[in-house]
């Protein structure tokens, strides 16, 4: 489905728009309230960005340090150049362990590499254990929001889905629905051979990975099965343990409007003693998948500062109208519009940099101050320069003509005078179908200037 078709479908879906409006408004309000509890919000944003910039500038060094620290703590490290390699590594580990079922906590990186489909092809059943992800998996859909995967669904739709898939009595009670999911999932936790998680932050100094969540499912995923596999983009590494302080201020407040998530799991290596908790094996898969390309220039590099809070989605007036699926990509919204073309190649996502009015609301809320509009503009220039995506014959000609006319003031005036005399209006049905087009003024400003305005003041 094209972006246009997806957007049109979303705009005519009253349930989806209602659910989106409600949830994004609530997230934005909670974010504002939580922000106010931070002692120095702007200072925290600046410090976080500075840490990210410093890390990204020396990413090779920090990844080496993280690898060494994590290995010392007993983790086994794997490097994946792309999605295919990451799926192969994880699939191989699972097959070696004879895994039949795998429980997963929420991870956008696993969505990015389409891990579930890859595991299914090997006859391994992946089970999503985050409530939102579980809903999406039952529905056979994909997440439409980085933080709230099922944000596009109403409670009524979830109730109907659970009644159909879990065989429970239809109920509109959120607590009853949650309890039904919990009951179904507890069994799956007990039988799972492997747990797969994402990573929010990886500390180079100590080899620790941090996972934030609210449901306790990530803690179960990473501690109950004997093998834990953590998949992380290479940009998740931060230098020092103490750096977590600032990111723990920013991420929960920006993401869900919480001062802190219910669970913060700090995992360093494997258990040392048979009586310890945790898995016998920890595998950490470092995923590049296009990220190292973004390091080349500062304008694209800032994309990697993203901590996946989702605040830009909630603030984006385009996302708020159409939701995540219309973008046709794993990562939706403003961050998706800059991340996706850089991950999968601009040729395959040439429409995304244009899926924005450039209003800048995303930049206002970004906890690490990514200048998303600047990256969108950079990518638009790339689209045009590389002839990516659909052919833009008319557009190219129009802009060439526009520049040629605007560079010649006398020609400009003659063209506009002719348009005025002949009542020529641009063929803008895309405008006039919904909006009246303001006609050219009877006289241009420059004509008024010559006809007396110039002298008016002196006269």
């Amino acid at each position: 489905m094209t972006f246009e078709a997806g957007a049109r479908a979303a705009l005519s879906d009253a349930q989806l728009r209602g659910a989106l409006r409600h949830a994004t408004t609530l997230f934005a309000e909670k974010r504002r309230a939580a922000m106010a509890t931070a002692p120095d919000w702007e200072g925290a944003r600046d410090r976080a960005r500075a840490i990210k910039d410093e890390t990204l500038l020396h990413l090779d060094r920090y990844l080496d340090q993280f690898t060494a620290s994590a290995e010392r703590a007993g983790a086994r490290m794997h490097w994946a150049r792309d999605a295919g390699e990451a799926c192969a590594i994880i699939g191989w580990i699972a097959e070696q362990r004879g895994a039949r079922t795998i429980v997963k906590s929420k991870s956008m990186a696993t969505e990015e590499i389409h891990l579930n489909a890859a595991l299914a092809r090997r006859g391994i059943e992946p089970i999503e254990t985050d409530l939102g992800e579980y809903i999406i998996q039952l529905a056979g859909e994909t997440p439409s929001h980085i933080v709230a995967p099922a944000i596009h669904k109403t409670k009524g739709q979830i109730a109907a889905l659970f009644a159909e898939k879990l065989g429970i009595a239809p109920s509109d009670d959120a607590a009853a629905l949650t309890a039904a999911a919990r009951q179904a999932l507890r069994r799956r936790f007990a039988e799972a051979d492997i747990g797969i998680s994402g990573v929010n932050f990886a500390v180079a100094e100590t080899g620790t990975i941090l996972i934030l969540e609210n449901e306790g499912n990530a803690r179960l995923t990473t501690s109950l099965p004997r093998t834990h596999i953590a998949l992380m983009g290479i940009e998740k590494v931060i230098p020092r343990f103490a750096d977590l302080e600032v990111f723990l201020q920013l991420l929960p407040r920006s993401g869900t409007g919480q001062v802190l998530t219910a669970y913060q799991s700090l995992l360093t290596g494997v258990k040392r003693h048979p009586d310890d908790e945790g898995p016998d094996e920890l595998h950490i898969v470092l995923l590049d998948n296009g990220r190292s390309r973004m390091l080349a220039a500062p304008v694209t590099r800032q994309t990697l500062a993203c901590i996946r809070c989702g605040a830009c989605l909630n603030a984006c007036p385009v996302y708020r109208q159409i939701g995540g699926h219309a973008y046709g990509a794993v990562y939706a919204g403003p961050i998706g519009a800059i991340l996706t073309p850089q991950l999968i190649g601009i040729e395959r996502a040439a429409h995304l940099p244009y899926a924005s009015s450039l209003c800048g609301a995303c930049r206002d809320v970004c906890p690490v101050k990514i200048d998303i509009p600047a990256v969108l503009l950079h990518l638009r220039a790339e689209v045009v320069a590389q002839h990516a995506g659909k052919r833009r014959v008319f557009e190219r000609l129009a802009f060439r003509a526009y520049a040629a006319v605007m560079a010649r003031p006398r020609l400009y005036e003659r063209v506009m005078r002719l348009a005025r005399a002949l009542h020529i209006t641009p063929p803008l049905r895309a405008w006039t179908k919904w909006r009246d087009l303001r006609p050219l003024a009877p006289r241009s400003f420059r004509e008024e200037w010559r006809r007396g305005l110039k002298k008016e003041g002196t006269g």
Partner: protein
């Protein structure tokens, strides 16, 4: 103070009353206004759509025309075109051009910021009978940080009452070529704005940018009696 008017191509051709109003208001507060007829477009449509070579041509033209004006300030009735001049630095890669771009950008102001912050004027002697609301155009608001300036000017207009929109800061969906590349999304965004304007019970929505074509075009299509006015239209009014 000597001021160069940066009229913008849209004001020149479609909304000249905004530029005429700007000239009259500037003169009323004691400025002498100059207008260089070589100026056309700042290049923003090309820049925002990804046509950088075209935008660069027009940016360099703009710099050449305005850097030698010898005036104290360059003043424009548009926030987004002013913001474009402030973006020239990102568009031009050559260091010498960047320096020239910065020098021009430093003295380029949007009308309300020039009046309030540079001249320290909030009462321009305008009168306008009616209930008004201010729509924050995105580039003025977020690129130039203009928020209180137009409101302070409007509060001093005799006979006018300023009503705040609950969603004054949300995008109206214009976004230049976005409005025709993605018209359905653009209009969905627009309708939230227009509904809030209608619910506010105002006589006119006032702004300082091309959003006026978008908001005004939808208001008139819906048969609304609410008018879309440029800030300079209101500030120039003495009726």
């Amino acid at each position: 103070m000597r001021v160069s008017l940066f009229v913008t191509c849209l004001a020149d051709q479609i909304w000249p009353s905004a530029a005429i109003g700007a000239v009259r208001v500037l003169r009323r507060v004691g400025c002498s206004v100059e207008f260089d007829e070589r100026q056309t477009c700042c290049g923003q449509p090309a820049f925002n759509t990804g046509y950088r070579p075209e935008a660069r041509t027009l940016a360099q033209r703009f710099i050449e025309i305005f850097e030698g004006s010898g005036t104290d300030a360059i003043v424009s009735p548009s926030g987004s075109c002013t913001a474009m001049v402030h973006h020239y630095h990102d568009l031009l890669e050559d260091a010498a051009w960047r320096a020239r771009a910065n020098a021009v950008a430093e003295r380029t102001y949007e009308l309300s910021t020039f009046l309030v912050n540079r001249l320290g004027v909030e009462d321009v002697g305008a009168s306008f009978a009616g209930r008004l609301t201010w729509h924050d155009a995105c580039h003025g608001l977020r690129d130039l940080g203009l928020k209180s300036e137009p409101r302070r000017l409007l509060r001093h207009v005799r006979g006018a009452e300023l009503i705040e929109l609950p969603n004054a800061e949300s995008c109206c969906g214009f976004g230049g070529t976005f409005s025709v590349k993605h018209p359905e999304i653009s209009v969905a965004m627009l309708d939230e704005k227009v509904e809030a304007i209608e619910a506010a019970g105002v006589d006119a929505v006032v702004s300082g940018d091309s959003c006026l074509m978008q908001i005004g075009g939808r208001l008139s299509r819906r048969g609304s009696s609410v008018r879309a006015l440029h800030l300079a239209d209101v500030l120039a009014s003495t009726a």
